[in-house]
């Protein structure tokens, strides 16, 4: 195995070298390709730029410096820095990096079978940044993902919003908030997945009751904290479960709520009203039945678009029309992969199927980008191509809603993280022998790459 790996590494390096030479040939600039705006500005020329902030720009120019977008507009209106590395994107599309609001890449784990409500569990303590799923997501143009634990609990743990940067450890992929904490939400579920034998709930009413009990407890804990006002003598003992739930009650942590059936969706809205937490409805298979109620509650949806109904009772009325119905009702709609359920490399396909089911084209593109950014409360940084935002983008070979289009390059914070002309990246994008080998995935091209 070891020998095979090394042979493969050698081949991949040769191929990568050839590909780099090719990419240089395409570039306007004379110098070697750095593909990192940390060292010199990068300018993308010639593409149709779908900014998701106003009209699309034909033959647009986008300038990136030190990880941020510094200019975007028509060629005539943009000043190009003198020393910029140029990326020829003529005939292509540039879109904001996709924001996947619900993913399981990186093999995240949350709570175990000991209890149905485990706010203390963090996916941070389980994610494998070498998981091939992360590289595949980049190949699909995804630059930010909400990586969540599963739906087998009423509350399975804390989620993380990750930038899919090249990284050695989970810390390399975190999004740091102003207070220094890592951006993330909390995962909840109702319906059938979270049911089970005691201590798990055996009914829908019991599910809601268990959750309400915990939020009431958390509110009391928060009161104690407030009363103590920092006085160590009066502080309640630290309780990791309560601490996380207080963050939810305070609106610091958004609830990402798995919910399929129409009545389960309304139960989430009822609990939200009672406790006032911020919530996003996830999957929403029967959202088309209660679209008006969802819109009226002004609660956003993160929808999964799947190829057929069924597979479990709560998905029996899943429809590719859901996104369109929600959109017309005035609800906010993002789309997610739920990778492993759908493939991150084909995230665009989910949006295109939503269009097939009646969603507007604009709405579908927003559902992959800016609406997802809003759901993760990161829309000041990501989700559209605007000056000052993070330079997270993907270059598409053509219309991103066409089956025939594919990502040629993905950039995160001004750094090239997926390049289809590199052998390693093409293998990730198409699959094939070696594509699923996580060590190979990073090891073959990283500078210090042997056997990590």
């Amino acid at each position: 195995m070891r020998i095979q790996n090394l042979q493969f590494v050698a081949l991949a390096l040769l191929a990568a070298g050839a590909a780099c030479a090719n990419a240089r040939g395409l570039s306007f600039s004379q110098g070697p390709r750095v593909a990192d705006s940390a060292s010199r500005p990068v300018v993308f020329r010639g593409a149709k730029i779908v900014t998701m902030a106003g009209e699309d720009i034909d033959d647009g120019v986008l300038v990136v410096d030190k990880g941020k977008i510094t200019a975007v507009g028509r060629a005539a209106n943009v000043t190009i820095p003198a020393n910029a590395e140029e990326v020829d994107a003529r005939g292509k599309y540039i879109l904001p990096g996709f924001v996947d609001t619900h993913s399981h890449i990186g093999a995240p784990a949350g709570g175990d079978s000991s209890s149905p409500i485990q706010p203390d569990c963090r996916v941070m303590d389980s994610i494998d940044v070498r998981d091939p799923g992360i590289a595949r997501a980049r190949a699909g143009g995804i630059t930010t993902a909400n990586v969540m634990p599963g739906s087998g609990h009423l509350l399975s743990g804390q989620t993380l919003y990750l930038k899919l940067r090249d990284g050695n450890a989970i810390e390399d992929l975190l999004i740091k908030l102003d207070d220094g904490s890592a951006a993330g939400g909390i995962k909840m579920a109702n319906g059938t997945n979270s049911r089970g034998n005691p201590p798990f709930p055996g009914s829908r009413a019991k599910s809601a009751a268990l959750v309400r009990e915990q939020y009431i407890k958390a509110a009391a804990y928060r009161d104690k904290l407030k009363k103590a006002n920092g006085d160590p003598e009066k502080m309640p003992e630290r309780d990791l479960n309560m601490e996380a739930l207080v963050e939810v009650l305070d609106g610091k942590r958004v609830v990402h709520h798995h919910t399929h059936r129409h009545d389960d969706i309304l139960t989430v809205l009822r609990l939200q009203k009672e406790f006032g937490f911020k919530v996003v409805l996830h999957h929403v298979s029967e959202g088309w039945k209660v679209a008006d109620e969802i819109a009226k509650a002004n609660v956003p949806c993160s929808v999964i678009v799947i190829d057929s109904p069924g597979g479990k009772l709560e998905a029996k009325d899943a429809s590719i029309e859901t996104c369109g119905v929600l959109e017309r009702a005035g609800a906010r709609v993002a789309i997610h992969t739920d990778d492993y359920i759908t493939d991150s490399r084909l995230f665009n396909r989910s949006a295109a199927l939503a269009v097939r089911g009646g969603m507007s084209r604009r709405g579908a593109l927003a559902a992959l980008t800016i609406e997802g950014a809003k759901i993760l409360e990161l829309d000041k940084k990501i989700g559209s191509l605007e000056t000052g935002k993070d330079a997270d983008l993907a270059i598409w070979s053509g219309d991103p809603l066409s089956v025939y289009s594919y990502v040629t390059e993905t950039w995160i914070e001004g750094k090239l993280v997926f390049d289809r002309s590199r052998a390693r990246d093409r293998l990730v994008a198409e699959g094939g022998r070696g594509a699923g080998e996580p060590r190979l995935d990073l090891g073959c091209c990283a500078a210090d790459g042997e056997d990590r």
């Binding site: 069924g310 009772l313 269009v355 089956v403 070696g434 594509a435 699923g436």
Partner: protein, 403 residues
């Protein structure tokens, strides 16, 4: 929305009734007959359920009493070369899962016709995207899980639906064949299959003796496997890893049986063996997820088989969770976009699949005398955003709600 839904259902039902017995003419801006070049502005005339005439609109006269359907693109009804719909129900509850019986590892006597539910909702679902013929039956997951059948995606009873009642015998090699007891290893699985086939050889021999009193009693299992040994029923072997695919080739060689490989994730690693064996492959769904036995999956599998000249068709396969079935049109679309190209993908989805299943005299192309099975689209059938606007089976309009 609720109201819309009911209207749509009523409309679909209404059109079904009104055109059920009508004679149909289908006019397409492009008609892919799969027998010669595509026809620009073509017409397909279906009389009494069979295709009567196909040609350019300028050359074909539509009789005055015919219902005329129009579409941008017209293709033969799609053929899903391997699925489990009709046996694996969409609710995925114990009461609607008939594709696998775990009481014994080898049960070729289990017939698909005794398990097929023609009213299962997923059949209607895939039909709405243009799938008119399915090869379905017992699924992967046991060494020999049972038989398969070929059906049209219509009919209130299995007898109305069925085209071929005993199509293939479904086997699995690899992890899927193994259970807690036996077979518990790859070698044991193959040994058990060989033993069963050798027993069948002996059974056949005893049946052939002149003295009737010395012939063995009927044995359903041996009877079915005799059909495999006689070449009347191919052995459909689901195998993903190259080792398991090689084992299947070895079996076929030893017992001179007709082999169809299914899944075949590692096919690109075995091209020369597959060419030598002249085996046909029902390739894994293009969007199947990589992992474990399927670690080497690629979107380009179909393109690689085409390049090597290995006959293949597409499948929706078996799904154990959400979504409960794939749609073979969507799988072919991804293969088309990943190296295979539109025309080859359309061939694999129609005439090539029909040939692989041995039903090409009836379906798979738009030619005089064949069944009146047609799918209509408002654009390139493989584009994500295109809709299937109509489906005709045996000359009857069975779907007309754009999907």
């Amino acid at each position: 929305m609720r109201i819309n839904y009911i209207f749509a259902a009523a409309a679909a039902l209404g059109s079904f009734v009104s055109t059920a017995r009508a004679q149909v003419a289908i006019r397409g801006e492009t008609v892919y007959t799969m027998a010669g070049e595509p026809i620009r502005d073509g017409i397909v005339i279906i009389r009494n359920g069979k295709i009567d005439e196909v040609g350019a609109a300028s050359a074909v006269r539509v009789p005055p009493d015919f219902t005329i359907l129009r579409a941008a693109v017209v293709v033969p009804g799609l053929v899903d070369a391997h699925t489990c719909v009709g046996l694996t129900g969409y609710l995925n509850q114990p009461h609607d899962q008939e594709q696998i019986e775990r009481s014994a590892p080898i049960q070729p006597e289990l017939r698909a016709i005794d398990a097929y539910n023609p009213e299962e909702r997923l059949i209607e679902w895939i039909r709405g995207f243009g799938v008119t013929t399915i090869h379905t039956g017992h699924g992967p997951g046991a060494l020999i899980s049972g038989q398969t059948m070929i059906a049209k995606t219509v009919g209130k009873t299995v007898d109305e639906a069925v085209m071929v009642s005993e199509a293939m015998v479904a086997a699995t090699l690899g992890d899927g064949a193994q259970n807690d007891k036996s077979p518990g290893t790859r070698a044991k699985a193959v040994a058990m299959l060989r033993e069963e086939l050798i027993k069948t050889q002996a059974y056949k021999k005893k049946l052939a003796v002149a003295d009737e009193t010395k012939r063995p009693e009927r044995n359903l299992r041996m009877e079915t496997l005799s059909k495999v040994l006689d070449g009347a029923m191919p052995l459909l072997v689901t195998a993903q890893r190259h080792t398991d695919m090689s084992a299947a080739l070895r079996l076929a060689d030893e017992f001179h049986i007709k082999l169809v490989l299914d899944g075949a994730a590692d096919a690109p690693m075995l091209i020369e063996s597959l060419q030598r064996a002249r085996v046909s492959i029902i390739i894994h769904p293009a969007m199947q997820r990589a992992g474990g036995e399927t670690d080497n999956l690629t979107f380009e599998s179909a393109a690689k088989l085409r390049d090597a000249g290995i006959p293949f068709a597409f499948q929706s396969g078996f799904e154990g969770y959400v979504p409960k079935t794939r749609v073979v049109l969507f799988e072919a679309a991804v293969a088309a976009a990943h190296g295979l190209g539109r025309d080859a993908a359309l061939r694999a989805l129609t005439i090539d699949a029909a040939r692989l299943l041995g039903i090409d005299k009836r379906v798979g192309s738009l030619e005089k005398g064949k069944d009146g099975d047609v799918a209509l689209y408002d654009g390139d059938p493989f584009e994500y955003t295109t809709h299937c606007t109509g489906v005709v089976i045996d000359g009857k309009v069975v779907a007309d709600k754009p999907r």
